[in-house]
């Protein structure tokens, strides 16, 4: 069972907002993770190193979390390897087709007042909720 974590979640959100703001203020870049990673797969001269540095920063953060707060990386959700692979394919393909994910559309885009990002965010929240609901109701929460 999950517990309500209002204050840590709010603090985590503020950190994400500060990170996105700092990246914009220093480099003028948008902190959309799928866009940053996608750009690494189609490298352009002068527009690749910062993406790599950002991703290394993310992974270093993951290493720090694993070392000092391992509970934050708990993978206890009952999902088969096949389900995780299908999910990864959908997330990778969909985020590129739709030009963004939770960070790029959900945070940066909506903060910019983008109608596209609002539409995308409402859409992925709805399909995410629908799939989560189907897994819980029809598959007993395990796939």
């Amino acid at each position: 069972m999950q517990h309500l974590t209002v204050l840590p979640s709010l603090a985590g959100g503020i950190l994400i907002g500060l990170s996105a703001s700092a990246l914009l203020a220093v480099s003028g870049k948008i902190a959309g993770i799928s866009g940053i990673v996608g750009g690494l797969l189609t490298p352009k001269v002068g527009d690749t190193a910062w993406r790599g540095a950002f991703v290394v920063g993310l992974m270093t953060g993951g290493l720090a979390l694993a070392s000092f707060a391992p509970g934050t990386l708990e993978m206890t959700l009952p999902r088969s390897t096949a389900a995780v692979i299908v999910a990864g394919l959908l997330v990778g393909f969909g985020s590129r087709l739709g030009s963004g994910c939770t960070s790029g559309h959900g945070v940066c885009g909506i903060a910019r007042g983008s109608r596209r990002s609002l539409a995308a965010t409402v859409t992925f929240m709805l399909t995410g909720a629908a799939v989560a609901l189907i897994v819980t109701q029809f598959f007993g929460g395990r796939v």
């Binding site: 220093v26 920063g57 206890t76």
Partner: protein, 145 residues
Amino acid sequence: MDKARTTGTLVAAFACGLIFALGLGLGGMTQPSKVIGFLDFTGAWDPSLAFVMGGALATHTLLRRLIVARPEPLLALSFAMPAKTDIDGRLIAGAAIFGAGWGLAGLCPGPAIVAAGGGASAALVFVPAMLAGMVLHEVLTARGK
């Protein structure tokens, strides 16, 4: 000066990635069970992740106004601005597909990369599949041109 600028943007990108990761971890986004607890509102709904998004949105909306009021970023020539403004089929289809994957495993790109950096087993399977999905999109797009 140019070299100093480049170094500065790299250090900034690394630091921003690090802070972003800590925010995701502290906020609960790197726990798939918590993400599903948020998305599946029929069970014991856990609205915590709405506070992650709310906190990030409030902070960035406010600071963004001050930042883009300046003529240019500190170490770059201009602020990136997405060119597209219309809501088209690709946007909605892509978001729908992305959401389905997010709701299936409870991982989206940022938290997945963070968790993979921390060696979390599910993320180590998820991230290569996600990269393959991204490459598949590039291949199909290139073929369509």
